[in-house]
């Protein structure tokens, strides 16, 4: 029997409220250092390295909004029947560079929910597309995230 009810699947297409964030040299530097990036332009924060949008748009939630395992509950997602969340993968298009001082706006859409049989039981996959624009309304990054619930 499928874990995916029609009610659950009806959430496909749901969009988040846009989030707007400013890029700072300090945040770029922290990210470049924590990822072992050896390139000086990133370590000095002159330009954002690839994947800097991941920390920039990770949800900043308050402590009581974290579940006991320390995970923040993504308000875009419905309540799934499986709860252990694992990284699945990313597909990222880099269209324009990111520099300190840039204001970026992201919108996220839940684009798919599907089920697969894993070695130790059923797995639920979900996909979220995030589009990031700058204040000139140029698309800077388009990302498709896949995550797995077990």
């Amino acid at each position: 029997m499928s874990l995916l009810t029609p009610e659950l699947l009806a959430n496909i297409g749901r969009e988040s409220e846009p989030k707007r964030e400013i890029v700072t040299r300090r945040d770029i530097r922290k990210y470049a250092i924590a990822t072992n990036n050896p390139q000086r332009k990133y370590l000095d924060g002159d330009e954002a390295p690839p994947m800097f949008h991941v920390p920039l748009f990770w949800d900043v939630v308050e402590l009581e909004q974290l579940s006991p395992d320390g995970v923040s509950i993504d308000p875009l997602l419905p309540k799934f029947p499986l709860h252990r969340d694992m990284a699945g993968g990313l597909e990222i298009e880099y269209l324009n560079p990111i520099h300190p001082g840039d204001w970026l706006t992201s919108t996220r859409t839940l684009t798919d929910i599907y089920e697969k049989k894993g070695r130790s039981g059923p797995l639920i996959f979900y996909e979220v597309i995030m589009e990031i624009h700058n204040d000139d309304d140029e698309l800077v990054i388009r990302e498709k995230m896949t995550r797995i619930l077990r």
Binding site: D69, G70, L90, L95
Partner: protein
């Protein structure tokens, strides 16, 4: 930049420790206990140790391509999957091989391997040659 199908990218090696993993997750605001609470990771989620964050492996795939390109090209697209978990204490290897060259567009198969040589995060990157 002269690029041909079959070219191998110089490999990069990463041995993250608890401090690096903590700083990475702090930069994200990621409080998932499997990355810093070892008793929780082992006893509750059944992992053998502290789990290296999946998107950190993805970052290293981006890095291995950018370091190889230098100023001669630009990374335009990357996709990867997290196939298996890895743990603090392991040394991971990032690398890649050129699989297609069409005009200025090159396609590279990238990988993160663990110490057993298993590919735990395969991916495909696309880059544009500038010079």
């Amino acid at each position: 930049m002269n690029v041909a199908v079959g070219d191998a990218l110089p490999e990069q090696f990463h041995t993250p420790d608890n401090v690096q993993l903590m700083l990475y997750n702090a930069a994200l605001w990621n409080g998932h206990r499997i990355h810093f609470d070892e008793p929780y990771a082992k006893e509750v989620e059944g992992y053998p140790g502290l789990v290296i964050a999946g998107p950190l492996l993805g970052d290293w795939l981006n890095q291995v391509v950018e370091l190889w390109l230098g100023e001669s090209g630009r990374l335009t697209k990357i996709e990867y999957s997290n196939r298996a978990a890895s743990y603090i204490g392991e040394t991971l290897t990032a690398g890649g091989n050129v699989t297609a060259v069409e005009g200025n567009t090159i396609t590279i198969e990238v990988y993160i391997k663990n110490e057993d040589g298993d590919v735990i995060a395969p991916g495909v990157a696309t880059a544009e040659i500038i010079a």
